[in-house]
């Protein structure tokens, strides 16, 4: 199982507390994580990446293992520590006021 940390507003939307744990089959990539997340929590579709282009929404960032993965390609493998569940995949709202 992998671990995903959602920003507070998306936890509310998905009606979850704390981390989300997901089963992801095959190579672990951003796309695989987000596909699994949206399949489990379809109410999140469109909130993290665009419905059509599948691009990351501009005010969201992806981090893991103290690395900024926001600008990695969607099919780039994620760190092993994420794949083993040792470290979470972090979806973070950019600090932009409001």
């Amino acid at each position: 199982m992998i671990r995903v940390v959602l920003p507070a507003h998306l936890r509310t939307l998905a009606r979850v507390d704390g981390e989300v744990q997901l089963q992801v089959d095959g190579p672990l990539t951003q796309r695989a994580v987000l596909d699994a997340l949206e399949a489990r929590y379809p109410m999140l579709r469109g909130t993290i990446r665009d419905h059509v282009t599948q691009r990351r929404r501009p005010f969201l960032r992806f981090f893991a293992c103290q690395q900024d993965l926001s600008h990695e390609l969607p099919d780039t493998p994620l760190p092993d520590a994420v794949a083993t569940g040792g470290e979470p995949f972090l979806i973070v709202g950019a600090i932009a006021g409001g």
Binding site: P7, A8, H9, L10, L13, R15, E38, A39, R40, Y41, P42, M43, L44, R45, G46, T47, I48, H51, V52, R57, F59, L60, G93, A94, A96, G98
Partner: protein, 395 residues
């Protein structure tokens, strides 16, 4: 005894205010969807317990919420709490947030461009839902006015949305441009007597009408005069802020434009100015008394760059003659040092007797009048900035 239920959208959540028919003591629930912008909430005339809400965020995009119990509980249509999150066919749900312009050759229009602030052309980009207008007869049918300007329809209670592409495809799109708040379709009025007729308004494109259920649209801006565009009497390009109609007289429309208050007596085919003695004819909302089709309300705002009441006095103006002759309504409203704004979707009337009138301010106050505007009292004073106010009159 009848009940008034006021649905308030704010910059940081939604609030529901309820009172009995006296409208003296109010119960306030909320914030619902705390921390999100709630551009608009509206109830179905066919089923008052069916509410729709537009929840939006610069971070997370557009969410549509629905309540089937008058606002006690909410869910995203198609993904109710506790139900499977995939369809029987194995497809994931979650289409209720999906607003995609219809560019198909069968039913849609190619995605062209509109005018940007600097006069260059800019592609259409969906940003948010400004206004939700439920059908008068079917609670599962609801229209959404969106930014960048287009109209969508759901026929399954908000689970999925499809653009009525004839509006964006009218051909005048390259002359449409955003107002200061964006290029939003903010007004949708359904004609209660003409089954296939609807009116919409866009900032800054103008007013449009369909007579065939949304397949085709035509601009209805003859008589509008806007000094801020190169051709002041152009067919499109006018910054219409709001249109209102009384259901008993659907050919009569009232308009608050960027500047000017106007009236049409022929379903928008032509307009004439009725600003009369208003202290300023700039403003955002306009509404019609529930029982007196010639009694209308506006909130004059000083100017297009000074979005607050003239002289720091918050005054609703009422005309009992369908325009031109206006009286200031001040009793109970702050008459000094008031510099709030009242946005276009932030005024509504109930259908009790006497008619109740409500409006919300960018300062977080929601004012109500239980006597047609003669006197006012704050229902609540310290909400986040109010974006929209709707009211339901419940038996």
């Amino acid at each position: 005894m009848s009940t008034a239920r006021v649905l308030v959208g704010t910059r940081k959540g939604a609030f529901i205010l309820t009172s009995d028919g006296k409208r003296e003591r109010w119960n306030i629930s909320g914030p619902h969807f705390a921390g999100w912008e709630l551009y608009h909430l509206k109830g179905s005339p066919a089923d008052p317990n069916r509410l729709y809400a537009s929840q939006t965020s610069g971070w997370f995009g557009q969410i549509i919420q629905r309540s089937d119990d008058g606002g006690k509980t909410w869910h995203q249509p198609g993904t109710p709490l506790g139900e499977p999150t995939i369809t029987p066919e194995g497809m994931p749900k979650g289409e209720s947030n999906k607003f995609v312009y219809d560019t198909s050759s069968e039913t849609g229009k190619s995605l062209t461009t509109h005018q940007w602030y600097d006069g260059t052309q800019h592609p259409w980009e969906f940003k948010r839902v400004w206004h939700l207008e439920p059908s008068l007869t079917d609670p599962d049918v609801v229209y959404a006015g969106v930014e960048d300007a287009a109209i969508f329809r759901s026929t399954d209670g908000g689970k999925s949305w499809h653009e009525l592409a004839g509006l964006r495809g009218h051909g005048s799109g390259p002359q449409w441009s955003p107002g200061a708040g964006g290029m939003g379709l903010h007004t949708i009025i359904i004609d209660p007597t003409h089954h296939n007729r609807m009116f919409v308004a866009i900032s800054a494109a103008g007013a449009f009408r369909t007579d065939d259920g949304g397949k085709t649209w035509r601009p209805i801006n003859r008589g509008l005069h806007s000094l801020y565009i190169p051709n002041p009497t152009a067919e499109v390009g006018h910054c219409v802020h709001r249109i209102a109609m009384h259901p008993s007289r659907p050919r009569v429309l009232f308009m608050q434009k960027h500047w000017d208050v106007l009236r049409s007596d022929d379903a928008g085919d032509s307009w004439h100015e009725v600003s009369g003695n208003l202290p300023t004819d700039f403003g955002f909302p306009i509404d019609v008394h529930a029982h007196e089709p010639d009694t209308i309300y506006v909130v004059p705002i000083k100017s297009d760059s000074e979005h607050y009441p003239p002289e720091g006095k918050l005054r609703v103006y009422r005309s009992r003659t369908g325009g031109n002759e206006w009286e200031a309504l001040t009793k109970g409203l702050p008459q000094r040092d008031c510099y709030v704004n009242v946005l276009r979707d932030a005024m509504a009337v109930d259908s009790l007797d006497p008619c109740g009138v409500y409006f919300g301010t960018t300062g977080g106050q929601v004012y109500g009048s239980a006597n047609g505007g003669d006197s006012w009292a704050p229902i609540v004073r310290d909400l986040p900035a109010v974006l929209s106010v709707e009211v339901q009159t419940l038996p």
